[in-house]
């Protein structure tokens, strides 16, 4: 049980290649934090710095108020679950989980009890004598988590733990991790590139891009109020529609490229963007058909099951609208025909600066 804090943490590799440009964050005791971002954004590096596997170039990482910058991984009281499990191939499941405890010279009974308890929680009790190679991917993953649990660490670190599993198992393990955390309440840091994992697991998430935390917030905050164009397009599936627009002083709009009209009620256009060129963001799920807005050409329709994605083109801009399948069976759409689409008016629209990509402040 511990807090974790980052104080202007930076990482630079030899040759002045900066991969993390400074992170400040306080993580409360028991919080589940997910770091999400595309590959190469520095999310794994950040986690490895917490683990002590990478040196910290500048700044401070504190666990429970104590600076751990110069401590060996073993002395930081953390436990880590690796993407490819990293189980010791020549040891049984029991020994894999017990190894760290043996090295800490815990009494035999204590080790047995802890491993037994962890195996119970993870339903591994019958597999304790097996070698890792005799286990399925999901079981190996559970052993890897068991190895972390028995340590009873202050902080859990998960490095893309589910990305080697197939889709179905991933969903199941996601729920198990959630349950596990609810039970143990250990402060956790979880790295993933999968936004669904991030949304479902996180108390708060850090959306990273090129070594910069673009936004830190709860999943709902990040979804409803993305701090930048990057976050808007990264979180949400399908991604948010982003259209560059010119807003006139009276609130009427045209697309920046092609100067096509956008018929959006001027009352919905905040004063702070009037007379400027900005990026307008519309969530596909918050757009509706046959309303005032714009008349786009249907390019294709993607069927997902209960929902369908209508891909449209409006001049130079691409857009996606999410509809229910029922809605489309009642009124079928033909690719190539035109369709009136627009915001549903009930959910806010998003406005971003063109240059910085940041959300327009003071709406």
């Amino acid at each position: 049980m511990a807090t974790l804090s980052f104080k202007n943490v930076k990482k630079t590799y030899a040759g002045n290649i900066a991969v993390i440009h400074g992170i400040d964050m306080e993580i409360a005791d028991g919080e589940f934090i997910v770091i999400v971002g595309p590959s190469g954004c520095g999310k794994s590096t950040l986690m490895r710095m917490v683990a002590g596997l990478e040196a910290i170039t500048s700044g401070e990482i504190q666990i429970d108020g104590a600076t751990v910058n110069d401590l060996e991984p073993a002395d930081r009281d953390i436990a880590m679950v690796f993407q490819n499990y990293a189980l010791y191939p020549h040891m049984s499941v029991f020994d894999n989980m017990a190894y760290g405890l043996k090295l800490r010279k815990l009494p035999k009974e204590e080790i047995k009890k802890r491993v037994g308890d962890a195996a119970e929680i993870l339903e591994l009790s019958k597999l304790l004598d097996r070698r890792p190679r005799a286990l399925s991917g999901g079981q190996r993953q559970r052993v890897a988590m068991g190895r972390a649990i028995v340590r009873e660490p202050k902080v859990f670190l998960f490095d893309e733990p589910l990305s080697n599993l197939d889709a179905k198992l991933r969903v199941a393990m996601r729920l198990e991790i959630l349950k596990l955390h609810r039970r143990l309440r250990t402060t956790s840091l979880y790295v993933t590139h999968d936004q669904v994992e991030a949304m479902t697991l996180a108390h708060r998430m850090i959306v990273m891009n090129q070594g910069v935390p673009e936004q830190i917030g709860t999943p709902v905050e990040v979804f409803e109020k993305p701090a930048s164009v990057f976050v808007a397009s990264f979180i949400g599936s399908p991604p948010m529609n982003l259209i560059q627009v010119k807003v006139a002083g009276d609130g009427t709009m045209q697309t920046l490229e092609g100067s096509l009209p956008l018929d959006i009620p001027p009352t919905d256009v905040p004063p702070s963007v009037r007379g400027r060129k900005v990026i307008l963001g519309l969530r596909p799920e918050y757009m509706i058909l046959n309303t005032r807005g714009l008349s786009a050409e249907i390019e294709m329709i993607e069927t997902l099951g209960s929902e369908q994605l209508v891909h449209c083109r409006y001049g130079h801009d691409q857009m996606i609208v999410r509809c229910t399948t029922r809605q489309l069976t009642e009124a079928p759409l033909q690719p190539g025909s035109r369709l009136d689409i627009g915001p549903d008016g009930r959910h806010p629209m998003h406005w971003f600066e063109i240059d910085s990509g940041k959300r327009v402040a003071n709406l």
Binding site: A51, G52, L53, E72, P73, A74, D75, I78, A79, M80, F82, Q83, N84, Y85, A86, L87, Y88, P89, H90, Y99, G100, L103, R104, R131, R133, R147
Partner: protein, 280 residues
């Protein structure tokens, strides 16, 4: 092969059988010769059927030795000590140096690796004169140390272990670090058990390499009680006035083949187990 053709099977078997005969026939002749009297062996052509003096010949070889040589027992012992020291020494040194080269970042790491690698170009025969000088100066002539030490350094084994260590995933090292295993613990608890099969393979190869050494022991041993068996056999093929007792020599040869054959057969089990038991 996907297709099954009878004549192809026949051809394959024929080639294998011919190969087997080529390899096995000299061994057979050696064995036959070791069961006959010296006189019978000297006859031309020599009989290819076993003679009746097997027990006698082998007893002579073991107790007194043939012409110009010490008893087989002593020579086998010298060979065994030499081969074991070379095999074990090579494995110990190369596994540790490979560990250093792969897992530790120290100044001159690449240099060290390449220096080890370059010694591949300098086998014993090439550096034999200076090596002799060194061993002689250290007063190690006619000693086990003198027989084994110069042959222990091994670039091949170091290279082999290095390649194996490079295949061990980095995550395993990191997991061990987080578990609190220091470098020595990691080596002992994780790397060594994982290298079992490589070690077994190397042991077989290096044991036979050590057992078959001829030139080096010939140079540095001058006393009869320090001759390994390969040198001993050569000395039994007498020059000068003595008549070579071929039957005893052949019995000695057969005895000399037993230990390496045993090592191969015993370790083969390990191998196969190791191969089936792939831990990755």
């Amino acid at each position: 092969m996907v297709e099954r053709r009878p004549w192809l099977d026949f051809l394959a078997h024929a080639i294998l059988i011919v190969g087997l005969i080529i390899v096995a026939f000299p061994l057979y002749v050696t064995f036959i010769a070791s069961t006959q009297t010296a006189q019978e062996v000297a006859n031309a052509p020599m009989s290819l059927l076993p003679g009746s003096h097997m027990v006698e010949n082998y007893l002579t070889a073991i107790t007194s030795g043939g012409s110009g040589a010490s008893p087989v027992g002593r020579m086998l012992w010298v060979s065994l000590v030499m081969a074991l020291s070379i095999a074990i020494g090579k494995i110990l040194i190369s596994i540790v140096s490979a560990y250093a080269v792969v897992y530790f970042r120290f100044p001159g790491r690449q240099l060290c690796f390449w220096m080890i690698f370059i010694t591949l170009m300098l086998p014993v025969e090439v550096r034999i004169a200076p090596t002799y000088q060194v061993v002689a100066d250290l007063h190690m002539l006619n000693s086990y140390a003198g027989l084994a030490l110069p042959l222990i350094a091994s670039a091949t084994a170091t290279f082999l272990f290095r390649q194996f260590f490079l295949t061990v995933p980095d995550e395993l090292v990191e997991a061990a670090r987080i578990d609190g295993a220091g470098p020595m613990r990691f080596f002992y608890d994780v790397l060594l058990p994982l290298s079992k099969t490589s070690i077994a393979a190397l042991f077989v190869i290096q044991f036979i390499y050590g057992w078959n050494q001829y030139l080096w022991p010939l140079l540095i041993t001058t006393k009869e009680n320090m001759y390994p068996i390969v040198v001993g056999i050569r000395r039994m093929v007498a020059g000068g006035d003595d008549v070579t007792q071929w039957n005893i020599t052949m019995a000695t040869t057969i005895l000399a083949m037993i230990p390496p054959a045993l090592v191969v057969i015993l370790m083969q089990k390990w191998f196969v187990q190791g191969l089936v038991d792939t831990e990755k």
